[in-house]
Amino acid sequence: MRRSRSGPAALGAGGSRAGKYGLRTIALSYLALILVLPVGMVFYRTFENGLQPVLQALVDPLTLHALYLTVAIAAIAVPLNTLFGVFCALLMVRRRFLGKSILSVLIDLPFAVSPVVVGLSLVLVYGRTGWLGGWLAENGVRVIFAWPSMVLATIFVSLPFVVREVVPVLQEIGVDQDQAAHTLGATPWQTFWRVTLPAIRSGVTYGVILTTARALGEFGAVSVVSGKIAGRTSTLTVHVEERFQQFDLVGAYTSSLLLAVIALVIVLSMTVLRSKEVGA
């Protein structure tokens, strides 16, 4: 009788402790197997034969060009998506118009469509025999197998992030602050710069970081539209694959490491920015 009374209580207390450590172990081993081990292996394999081959691979002109192209594409795609994202979020939260729900679905499309399909669809439109591509080629503009198509593909796949981060922030702040600014004599432009933008800053920042990360890491769509011409249309991700297939493992690992370091810097800057906000 006594046992049956104290049993569940003891089990409950012991169970919660065991449960606590058990859950932690499961979560950590899962992360170790899926994330830490593979990424760690990249680090290990990169430096397996010392620093010299790594430095050599780093200063390889093809690697440097891939790095340059990756950064350049992101430098075009991210600001464009940020501008579009903020504008679109304002439109969706503050205006009522016909086709709003269609716009919302369209914005989420890049989340749903596989990047490879994005690449193929861009080829269908902008390729030499494509719908717009023929006309563009006649006018001397080359899109597919050149950087414009890679920028388009990157914009496509990283489109939703800013919108999706800014919309909830805009919904939360409402229109009171903007209306207060109006009654105090601010023009719409002054209101946007001095009131709306600072108020949604956290959402914009987070959206920009996610967009950048996605833009830098894009492989599927870019590899379809780029033609993978080393030294010309090869981004870092494409370069990694190309080196790997050439059995240049150190080259592949070094470029991977470069991507991983950029990603790490982005994640860290995000953490810093977030903690700053919590502090304020």
Binding site: D176, Q179, A181, H182
Partner: protein, 341 residues
């Protein structure tokens, strides 16, 4: 600095928020727009401010037609129920906003902000952020911000609605004093009749998108134009079509000819005020508001003799009428059921 709203109509879809409403506010006056939620009081205020565009009608602010003008050109100060503080700015920056977008000299802005912070009694909080202020302090800051641009009229939308009861009472009295110092034409919206009566020179009672009655607090209370006004400005007992204020229900221990017998259901002590819930012989219920001393001899379950000091009756159109016939006040409709004691 007067305000005229002429024939304002505003619809939201099928809902008519304002139905051909006209209102004149004299310069320097403190006016309350009082009504239940959905009565159109906030919408009227927002139409005057230019935050809402009316479907029909005109808004004239100190003689100038403001109907087509955006809010920023109307010279109105607006205070929101939920403060609408600029969260990323300090108190000083909040108050300075209207002046800094007008590119006034820095020294002038600083002096003006100090003066305003002193006026609203939050001198020491200039460098804080709104999140570090209490609700009452935030609303004082919002008021200072609105006053900074020297508005022609001050519009307050349920300014104390989000505050707790004690702070609300404090700020009411303070707003009244502030208005006496500054004499800015002020319109404020409230659903709290006590707040309106305490603060305003004049009350505009609204219901279902229309103005029911306009007048000084005392006049409205003593001479309500219709049943809605009477029941909105204070508690009423409704006996058939006769309306009696609970404080006008007199309780006597002995009958005197004009009284009727009632059973005491319940007695509630609220400090000085005592509520006595009663049931008449014909089954109708009413309550009386009385004092502690008068209620001392009363007990639930016992009977008491009831007489009204004053009653009011309105016909279907809301016009006050005099009860006809010989039937007694408490039961003009169901005389047959009355059992005189």
């Amino acid at each position: 600095m007067t305000i005229s709203a002429i024939g304002i109509t505003k619809r939201f879809g099928d809902f008519v928020a304002l139905d051909d409403v006209s209102l004149e506010v004299a310069g320097g006056e403190l006016t309350a727009l009082l009504g239940p939620s959905g009565s159109g009081k906030s919408t009227l205020l927002r139409v005057i401010a230019g935050l809402e565009r009316a479907d029909a009608g005109e808004v004239i602010i100190s003689g100038e037609d403001a109907t087509g003008r955006p809010a920023r050109e109307r010279g109105v100060g607006f205070v929101f129920q939920h403060y609408a503080a600029f969260k990323h700015m300090t108190v000083r920056e909040n108050v300075a906003f209207g002046l800094s977008i007008r590119h006034r000299p820095k020294a002038e802005i600083a002096a003006r902000v100090d003066e305003l912070l002193h006026l609203v009694q939050i001198d020491g909080l200039a460098e804080r952020y709104p999140s570090q202020l209490s609700g009452g302090q935030r609303q004082r800051m919002a008021l200072a911000r609105a006053l900074a641009v020297e508005p022609k009229v001050l519009l307050l939308d349920e300014p104390f609605g989000a505050l707790d009861a004690r702070v609300r009472k404090e700020l009411r009295a303070w707003l009244r004093r502030l208005h006496e110092e500054m004499h800015v034409t002020t319109v404020f919206v409230t659903h709290d009749q006590e707040e309106a009566m305490e603060v305003a020179d004049r009350i505009v009672i609204m219901n279902e998108g229309r103005i029911e009655q306009i007048g000084p607090p005392r006049e409205l209370y003593e001479r309500p134009g219709n049943e809605f006004v009477m029941s909105f400005l204070g508690p009423v007992n409704k006996l058939g079509d006769v309306l009696v204020r609970p404080h006008d229900v007199e309780l006597l221990l002995e009958p005197n000819g004009a009284t009727t017998v009632a059973l005491i259901d319940r007695i509630t002590y609220l400090g000085f005020e005592v509520r006595v819930e009663l049931e008449l012989r014909n089954g109708r219920k009413l309550w009386a508001q009385t004092t502690r001393e008068s209620a001392a001899p009363l007990e639930p379950g016992k009977t008491v003799h009831v007489r009204p000091r004053a009653t009011r009756t309105f016909d279907g159109d809301g016009v006050e009428t005099v009860p006809a016939g010989d039937s007694p006040w408490w039961d003009r409709r169901v005389t047959m059921e009355v059992h005189h004691s």
